[in-house]
Subunit: 205 residues, 2 copies
């Protein structure tokens, strides 16, 4: 946290808020010296971050070995247009978690962790969807990463131009960006008469 | 590309399209065996991916040494709600670039690369903004990563439920997601009478 330390924090409040709002994260791990960065879904449960996937996934298998991992979740809040090219920026919130994941084999914790992941993406969905059966549970690898070593970085607000540039007749400001849901598209093979659930119709992030 | 190989491609068409649409990427690099994943702005120019930042940034200084890097750009297109918890998914497009970056020191290439980055985020902006001066150029590190080793992965379309689940009275489908700009917020210190540029007012991604 050497660059722009004023933007950084180790407080769990903002860290948790970013992890909870971000739909996906990017997982970094190393295989034979080569770093890989893979997007995936996550969910926080208290002091743990859950990741899941196929037992055949290289990422999951590598992480299950307890290697060093970095998980980063980023929310893009806006484009910062300064008078100078140099001071252009982005408003964003990002959380970075370092550590080593452990494999979750306990059946109850695994069911609870997978439920957290579904509820993280679509709150309310586990009431409706068919729960995992034994075969599906075995076919899913769940990993838990402690949030012991986590930090957040946030940039917000208007551009920071140099004083000499403030009088230039150049528009400056922020263009906010938001993730917005469109109209839900029912699966063509849907059973007739199943209504669109409220948690989909009113989905907001 | 072992998991879901049908979703993967090494074709530059979709790879370039993803890199060009994504506003930010996540850069993975290794320091003393620990992977780091940091969000940053990028821009593609032909067969090169440009990254930039402060010469004081650990990420930029590490990458400038020519170490192995992984740059991943991800676009989230929708939430896939299946009948079963197990088949829930995301519609997404992601591009992964592996390689080693070189430092751009040639003044003309550096100016052109920085212009590409501004135009990548806000097309049209370089016509208006004050260009970098010599001090600012020296205060910016520009790196170029060749797109020699790149791949893309795409999931799209409706949920893929198991046949046995298709008759369940559970709503299934896709909730599309989009990045949408809000109303532009002029810098409070703006010079009077500078109109909002068209490229901001009509911004779309």
């Amino acid at each position: 946290m050497r660059r722009h330390p004023e933007r950084g924090t180790y407080d769990r409040g903002p860290i948790d808020a970013i992890l909870d709002e971000a739909l996906i994260c990017h997982v970094g791990f190393v295989v034979d010296g080569q770093p890989f960065v893979i997007p995936t879904i996550h969910a926080r449960d208290g002091d743990l971050l859950y990741l899941h996937g196929s037992p055949a996934s290289r990422m999951l298998r590598t992480l299950a070995d307890g290697v060093d991992v970095c998980v980063t979740a980023t929310l893009l809040d806006g484009i910062v247009l300064a008078r100078s090219v140099y001071n252009h920026s982005m408003n964003y919130r990002s959380a970075v978690v370092l550590g080593r994941a452990r494999r979750v084999d306990d059946r109850d914790e695994k069911l609870a962790g997978l439920e957290r992941i579904v509820e993280h993406v679509v709150p309310g969905r586990t009431r409706d969807a068919r729960p995992p059966n034994d075969k599906e549970l075995k076919g899913t690898l769940l990993l838990a990463l402690p949030l012991d070593e986590a930090s957040a970085k946030v940039r917000s607000g208007p551009p920071s131009d140099f004083d000499d540039d403030l009088g230039l007749p150049i528009w400056a400001g922020v263009l906010p960006l938001q993730v917005v849901p469109g109209a839900a598209e029912a699966d063509p093979g849907s059973v007739n008469g199943v209504p669109l659930p409220e948690y989909v119709a009113r989905y907001r992030r």
